[in-house]
Symmetry: C2
Subunit: 361 residues, 2 copies
């Protein structure tokens, strides 16, 4: 029941009846109907507290005896009227924050609002030491190093300064301006344990939900699944690292022009937790089948290869992992950010189909 | 017409008729009606681009020839159905981000949602080099230095570990946990010019609007007013610095146990721009009338004094500045964050009254 079948043409997902249809749906003339939000807000979750020795003196304050609350995730949420049961929890990838899921670089609705219209409660994470969760328990040095042409290539928009032919990314210069400005640095060392701890605390707080991850967030999604029973399904867009295998069954590192990808071994008893839920993984276009000397593209060749090895291993132990390379199901031109590409409604329909087929909607 | 009169009891602001009343108002039984949102999203605005010399080589990327887009503000927004004409643009203060205006530390609706219910489009800023606008054009070092007891005192919640008697702040330990976690560091040097440039770019983009500022944001509000014609009114909660006077009329520095407050001189032709719009300034409770040796409280004594001098000078040149010390109008117990204190509906009613009296609603 967990495996999805895909047609070349993905059917538009019908939104069910009543109030939410008139209020939250996108109307047929392309104008958006109002969103009806039952509740919205934000909070910090997880994290820790460090305390300096000594005694605080209010009249002459020094760090003595003071505390620092840090390493939490920051979460904003919206719960629509007539909500579906399971919320979607969205986690960004490398160098990104909640913006990944918000308004697209060219100004259209992102998955945050698309899936609100489809009546899912939506939670957006800024991971610990990133964006609005910038208060960490460790000090940091941040270098303002120009690197955007590298990201343009690594995110498979094209090979700078050229866009890939047929790429699902607006050629409007302001779209690229917005795209570059949705990067934000690590404020403190990247620490997968700190992040997955905070994400697990979120699922423990809000109850059963679906985890939607991007890129580096993919590996954090698997790691979080080991720490909470409340992840009921995972949708991973272009997971880039952190693939977990049973100790003794870890595949060899995969070299590419973009670096060598290593998998991680964990005890099999832990690994088996990954076999209990439906997981779908999507990769976009412009991923070479054989090694090429462009590091921006070639790194994705081995990530896709590792994802398939991981699928096979999880499913060998009774799991329910599907890997979809979008061009193979007739969806072309997607970058590393399929959910904000020009065809993101189609990409959302595919995700809705997965959720429906696995009774997660 | 710009001056407000205040009664001890602030009348509840009536929300006008029709759909928005039923959809966005708070119902009389205390349960919140759904929010009806016509449009929501986020974007970067302002900022600059730095470019490294050299040529980018996609096959062996180095910083050569690459760009960095930084120093923008990050803005999220919601526009309600049946919107009022002028949006509210909210700017946080020192060490804070958009969270200042979102869910309160004890979990109630903040000004973001309260004023959406009152049918204002709401824009929330993360200023350049802060929070989700963390991508700066300068490098930075961030020290994880415990300092929260100092903030507890400076924000006038109490004198650590004691709460002020009657303070409008929840004693629930989780409220304090959330409060401390809404701090986030500067990611790059604090630069008022960079921030007011980005804020002015926002007003130039969205058109006429009202600026609602907090603390350090107050001075940035005056500075932004010099750079855009689209600020039609200012509501400043507890402005802490950046008071602008005509050159030659700058008052002497004001010493306090919390440091010495200096005003800033600007050309009179620039200063006169501040006389053209209605401005209201609110300060909360627990501000001493005479010098005391507690720096957390005493700094606010001179900020309130400077605000009154500034009011007198702006109004001397035909301006429309009102300073409200909340205890003087019968509103007691407020901290440095009146808009998220336990009585924030009452504080919001006062702001609505100012907007109405100045035809800004």
């Amino acid at each position: 029941m967990f495996r999805s079948r895909f047609n070349r043409t993905v059917a538009v997902v019908a939104v069910s009846t009543g109030l939410a249809l008139s209020a939250n749906a996108q109307t047929s003339n392309g104008k958006n109907a109002p969103l009806m939000i039952q509740e919205q807000g934000s909070f910090a979750v997880g994290g820790k507290v460090i305390t300096n020795p000594g005694t605080f003196n209010p009249k002459q304050p020094t760090p003595d005896g003071q505390t620092l609350h840090g390493d939490h995730a920051y979460v904003s949420y919206e719960i629509p009227v007539n909500r579906r049961k399971l919320p979607l929890v969205f986690l960004h990838g490398t160098g990104q924050f909640s913006k990944t899921w918000e308004t697209t670089p060219d100004g259209r609705e992102g998955f945050q609002t698309i899936f609100l219209r489809r009546r899912f409660p939506v939670y957006l994470i800024d991971q610990p030491r990133r964006g609005d969760a910038g208060r960490g328990t460790v000090s940091a040095t941040i270098n303002a190093t120009p690197d955007e042409q590298m990201w343009f290539d690594t995110f498979r928009v094209g090979i700078w300064p050229d866009y890939f032919p047929g790429v699902q990314f607006s050629k409007d210069p302001d779209a690229l301006n917005q795209y570059f400005r949705q990067m934000t640095p690590n404020v403190g060392a990247y620490d997968p344990k700190v992040i997955s701890d905070a994400c697990a605390a979120l699922f423990d707080k809000i109850g059963p939900a679906i985890f939607v991850t991007h890129s580096q967030g993919g590996g954090l999604g698997w790691a979080t699944t080991l720490k909470t029973a409340n992840i009921k399904g995972i949708v991973a867009y272009e997971p880039g690292s952190g693939f977990l295998f049973p100790e003794g069954e870890v595949p060899p590192p995969l070299p590419s022009a973009g670096g060598t990808l290593e998998a991680i071994g964990i005890p099999k008893s832990e690994f088996l937790k990954l076999t209990k839920i439906p997981i779908i993984i999507y990769y976009g276009d412009f991923i070479p089948e054989k090694p090429i000397d462009n590091p921006g593209q070639d790194g994705w060749r081995v990530r896709l290869e590792m994802a398939r090895k991981w699928r096979d291993t999880v499913n060998h132990y009774g799991g329910h992992v599907t890997v979809i390379h979008l061009p193979e199901v007739g969806i072309h031109g997607n970058t590393h950010f399929p959910f904000s590409d020009l065809n993101n409604q189609q990409v959302a329909d595919l995700m809705s189909k997965f959720l429906k087929e696995n009774a997660l909607d």
